[in-house]
């Protein structure tokens, strides 16, 4: 659907230079030197790269009809992620090139929100956080009390995460799947 750039809204998906982008910020701006403008920040669905771009508010841009559905993540092969719609049992694939960082932090069987354009997956909407079990962590060296010191631990998906020294094998930790950053340890009572 074509709309004026002056009407784009945060969250919408748009086309630019042959790629799909999600609008993260759109703010009206009138410079008084010409027509009104729309200052936007957009994020490339494929590469995750963000771009600040100023549109003329009268400019037409293509807004994409994107559907968000919850799918079950089945498995990964060398080129794609495979998902299944649990209601219809329909299977979908998403090329690894479009999956972003999240692929290192998801487990088979996870339920994820996937963005579909004309029935074809274009991206996974990363959850704000994922909870993962630590499968390998070196014991902290006694006396090493430097505040903020970090070590590498390996989580159940095989990814490496920088975590605080007190994290042990068998702990569950919360990770931001977009950045791969450690957020917190899950208390024993919640595991």
């Amino acid at each position: 659907m074509k709309i004026n750039a002056g009407n784009i809204k945060k969250g919408q998906f748009i086309q630019k230079d042959g790629d799909m982008w999600q609008v993260q910020k759109a703010e009206f701006y009138s410079p008084g030197k010409g027509g009104a403008l729309m200052k936007s920040r957009i994020k490339n669905i494929k590469t995750g790269k963000t771009l600040d771009f100023t549109y003329k508010s009268s400019e037409t841009i293509e807004v994409l009809d994107v559907e968000v559905i919850e799918l079950q993540y089945l498995y990964k092969d060398h080129e794609s992620l495979h998902f299944m719609n649990e209601r219809t049992f329909e299977q979908h694939t998403l090329p690894l090139s479009q999956s972003g960082e999240i692929v290192s932090f998801i487990k088979e069987g996870d339920k994820l929100f996937v963005l579909l354009h004309q029935g074809v997956p274009i991206a996974v909407r990363p959850p704000q956080s994922v909870r993962l079990k630590v499968t390998q962590a070196q014991e902290a060296v006694k006396g090493d009390t430097v505040t903020g010191a970090k070590k590498s631990v390996i989580v159940e998906t095989g990814a490496t995460v920088l975590a605080p020294l007190f994290i042990k094998t068998g702990d569950s930790i919360v990770v931001n799947p977009e950045t791969g950053e450690y957020i917190e340890r899950v208390g024993k009572q919640y595991q």
Binding site: F28, Y29, S30, P31, K33, G34, A36, F53, T54, K56
Partner: protein
């Protein structure tokens, strides 16, 4: 629609009030006369890039359309023609069809000051003195905006629009329109059905503006003549005497050596009125009386318009104009 009293903005609001007092003190000491002007007018200067607010005065079956002024310029210039001398206005102005954003309010505070017998070069100094006066009154040496600290009482940067495009947008020639369109298209801008002014403005906002006023307050001057139709042309034939002030990438003030040629003004009126009509903007009566007044002779003068709320926002350390308001309401759009 909800109207909210926001007393949490009290500190920033009080800063605005203090700045208004200091502003009046500054101009009084410099012998500028404060003008109290109407906000409603039966006719306006046609400006193709602004939409106006229209209202109706009614008396029984008779009625008259009135318009909220987008700037006090039409009144001030009449007074200048009559010989009022140096003067200023500090009050409200209205611009329609501009959705509220961090730097825009449909109803905002404008400061316009005019000095006779001088051109824009003089006003660069006057404006700096004014901003530094406010800073001194606030005992503030720096503006802090979005994690940037900019010293005020320092050497202000000055660069021409041409230099700015060459430095920040890698466009060497902004005056050759064909070359400018080609370069912009290469950069990925949509150039079809676009005027030079609109495209210029887009590239300016995207690539030039974010750099202005970042290291020190910056005066950017000598705009292509198409972007300053109410300013005196320079002898180079391609630019006009206009400057803008930026601090931290925020446009704060706009100055012209005022165009005194009534014939050129009349031409400009006609063009802008036509553009307004073509774009389906409110068809307000044109203030032809303004041209008649200019015919009597506008003295040589320069005028500066300051986005007063934006200046107050920077002094208050706020990042949005809303943070200065005691009363706010959400628009449905």
């Amino acid at each position: 629609m909800k109207i909210t009293a926001s007393l949490q903005n009290r500190v920033a609001y009080q800063k605005t009030i203090t700045l208004k007092k200091a502003t009046r003190q500054f101009f009084e000491e410099k012998n500028y006369l404060e003008l109290d002007l109407p906000l409603l007018s039966p006719a306006l200067i046609p400006e193709s890039y602004l939409e106006v607010f229209e209202t109706t005065f009614r008396y029984f079956k008779e009625s008259q359309k009135l318009y909220l002024t987008p700037s006090p310029e039409l009144f001030i210039k009449r007074l200048l023609v009559e010989g009022i001398g140096d003067c200023y206005f500090l009050g409200k102005a209205f611009r329609n069809s501009e959705p509220e954003s961090s730097l825009h309010l449909p109803e905002f505070t404008i400061l316009e000051f005019y000095k006779t017998g001088v051109d824009y070069t003089y006003m660069k100094k006057e404006l700096k003195e004014f901003v530094c006066f406010l800073a001194e009154k606030q005992k503030k040496k720096h503006i802090v905006y979005k994690n940037r600290s900019i010293a005020l009482d320092t050497v202000w940067q000055e660069l021409t629009v041409k230099e700015a495009f060459s430095r920040y947008a890698d466009i060497a020639d902004i005056f050759d329109e064909t070359a400018f369109f080609t370069k912009a298209a290469e950069k990925g801008y949509a150039t079809e059905n676009t005027s030079y002014v609109d495209l210029f403005s887009q590239v300016y906002a995207q690539e030039v503006e974010p750099h202005l006023g970042v290291a020190a307050p910056t005066i950017i001057y000598d705009y292509p003549k198409k972007l300053a139709a109410l300013a005196q042309l320079k002898t180079d034939g391609v630019t006009a005497e206009r400057f803008e002030l930026y601090i931290a990438g925020v446009e704060l003030a706009d100055c012209y050596s005022e165009l005194t040629d009534w014939k050129k003004q009349k031409e400009r009126f006609k063009q802008d009125a036509l553009l307004r009509k073509r774009e389906g903007k409110i068809n307000h009566p044109i203030d032809w009386g303004f041209i008649d007044a200019l015919r009597k002779g506008l003295p040589k003068c320069a005028g500066v318009a300051v986005g007063f709320d934006r200046l107050a926002m920077l002094f208050a350390g706020a990042t949005s104009l809303r943070q200065l308001q005691l009363i706010a309401f959400d628009r449905d759009m």
